[in-house]
Amino acid sequence: MSKPGILLVDNNADFARMLCLALIAEGYATRVALDGRKALAEHRREPAQLLITDLFMPDMDGFELIAAIRRESPDVKIVAVSGDATHMRREYLGDAALAGADATLRKPFTVQALLAAIQGL
């Protein structure tokens, strides 16, 4: 099984760059977008097989992005990652799963945990 092309979306540029490098080192073709709007544009330009997205970002947040990608490309696997704990008594990662994410991870997570999640898809 060939490794899927990954689109990584996070407004924390440092985090996105580090994770991108780590994923590349693991053999994944990985691109980075810093917000939901750019990510959607990037995906339309060249569809990714796996989307790893943060939930809270300016200019189209993760929920909107997940919904849009799901609508356009039902086959794309999606992993939602967020630093949010329960916020206003809501479990946003749970919401993300409901919105269509295949897996969720709470920041901070180890690269191994992310890889395990990807392989588990």
Binding site: D14, R17, L21, A25, A85, H87, M88
Partner: protein
Amino acid sequence: MFGRRGMKLKSSLFALTLVVLLPMVVFSSIVVALLIQHDQNVYRQGANDRVRALMSAVDSELEIDLTTLQALSAVLRKLDPSTWSGTLQEVLASQPEWIALNARRADGSLAAFAHRLPGAGPAVVSMEEGFARAMREGLPVFGPIGQGPSGYRYAVRLPVVESGEVSHVITALVDPARMLRLLRRQAIAAGTVGVVLDGENRFVARTIDPEKWLGQPASESLRAALARASEGWFSGRTVEGLEVYTPYLRSPETGWAVAMGLPASSVEAAGWKYVLLLGAGLAAAIVFALLLARLYGRRISQPLLAVAEAADDLAAGRRPAALPESAIDEVASVARGLAVAAQAVEDRGDAVAREQATLREADRAKDVFLASLSHELRNPLAAITTASHLLKTGGADAETRLQAQEVIDRQATLMTRLVEDLLETSRVAAGKTSLSLQTVDLSEVARDVYVTWRSGGRFDDHPVEFSSAPAWVKADPARMEQILSNLLDNALKFTPPGKPVRIRVWQEAGHAFVRVADGGKGVPAELLASLFEPFVQGATKRGGLGLGLALVKQLVALHGGTVACSSPGPDHGATFLITLPAVEAVQPALWPARSAAESRRLRVLVVEDNEDARRMLSAKLDLEGHHVSEAADGPGAVAVATAVRPDAAIIDIGLPGFDGYELARRLRAASAPGRIRLIALTGHGQPEDRERALAAGFDAHLVKPATADQVGRALAG
């Protein structure tokens, strides 16, 4: 006045009224008793007067008869006794109430007589006693009543005295009807028995049943009374057995008596009238008191009961019903007091509710804060975790490892700042912050912040305008930087890329002002009030702890200033204005005047491969009015220099492509002598480094980090 043992108010009022009535009753009774007595006295007096009048009327009737007889005797004395009978007949004819008339000699034989009845013989009327008395005493004799052939009559006798001896006795026999008529002429009330008695206490006339009792002896009680005294008042029975009060009088002249039997019932009725009146008045007073007690009791007790009920409601936590108006001031004031208390309870309830709402809001803000804190810490932690992963895996190249280290540095710094902000807010809130106050020009502080941020690339997405005039304040410069940074951070966070942010510092009318205006989505009106409270955040997806503005407010307050926010509406941005007390400017001499180079506009080329450092320097130079162009490596620098022909170049030594020495040589070679000023900016500060730089063609050699002042002087030459 209110019973201690549950006595009804109505009963209390009634009892009160009775207590007031009691002395009145006693005094009224005394007055009534006196009145009755007085009335009876008056009545008795009246009766006595009437009895006296009756007596004198009876007496004068008898006297009239006597006077007629005296006149007759004077006539007879002049006449011959043989003609007397004719004279007597004439006189009798003139006296219609006389029945018979005679004259007797001293021996009792008839000298003459006249009789009203035709053919009647000389009357024989109880001659013996009356005649004998007239003869014996030589005085007129009245009565007694006796029965003759034509019925009852009484005699009036006049002895005729001649030469000291009684020669004759003239006697008139009078019909007692005369006395009855007289009696009837008197105004004697119906039911009252008026009687006329002769000297032997026999009835001569009587207003009731005169015929039956004529000549009969008077009642026992009257006779006994007459025996006791010739005048008086007694209570007894009439001959018929009627209960009467009787005033009576016996005439000393004629020996006759009169009496009036007043029925006891009518005498006592006068008293009873008062007693009845008093009783009726008293009863009316009591009924009135009862009614009043009931009415007033209700007027007092109903509002009181309502008040008591309202108080119960209040105690039970219910909202009391509206209280009735009371006409009684005290009750009304109790009701008012209760109404005020009810209002106070309600207000307090509202205040408690508001307080609870505030607490809930604070609790919510705390929840949001904790969630935000988690988010704000987890994000840099995620970056650090991933960077450390990259460092651990052996496969990473040097470039990747360097980036990872920088990321760890940066994100750790971010976290540190976050934690420091948190601690700072807590310290300032707890009043544990100390300021190191200096007299500073706020515009200079703001300029430094602006330059630092601009060089740090923070303004890449927004056109940021900066304008300033000196504004001197007594302030802690580090805190002022913090304040400005927070305001700028806030402005950038809420302003969409491309929209401007404007910073202005100035002084006016004793105040220093800093204004940061953004073109963002503005602050909703409902948020304006709580904007400066800790943990309060506008809707944003950029995160943050909601501490920035709270810290601004606290720090500005520590400096004796104020911060205000205004927002004209959604998407029209927000303006934050800080006002601080201005102070006297520090002597201008202490601050070096700007050098000629600083005031001169130069075209400056900055060559530096470290982006942060290059931007920082460019921003500083730009702010001083120079035209700045940038290059990141040797070949790029040569290209830019060819294009812009700079007046000066500030060059890092360690550059990709070829190094700073080589670049200096090439730039120097490409320009007219003295045309370009070359300044080396390097981390190496050894004397041999300096010599090497000067040898390569540099005009000045500066060691990192160089101050703005050093750069300025180097540019000026």
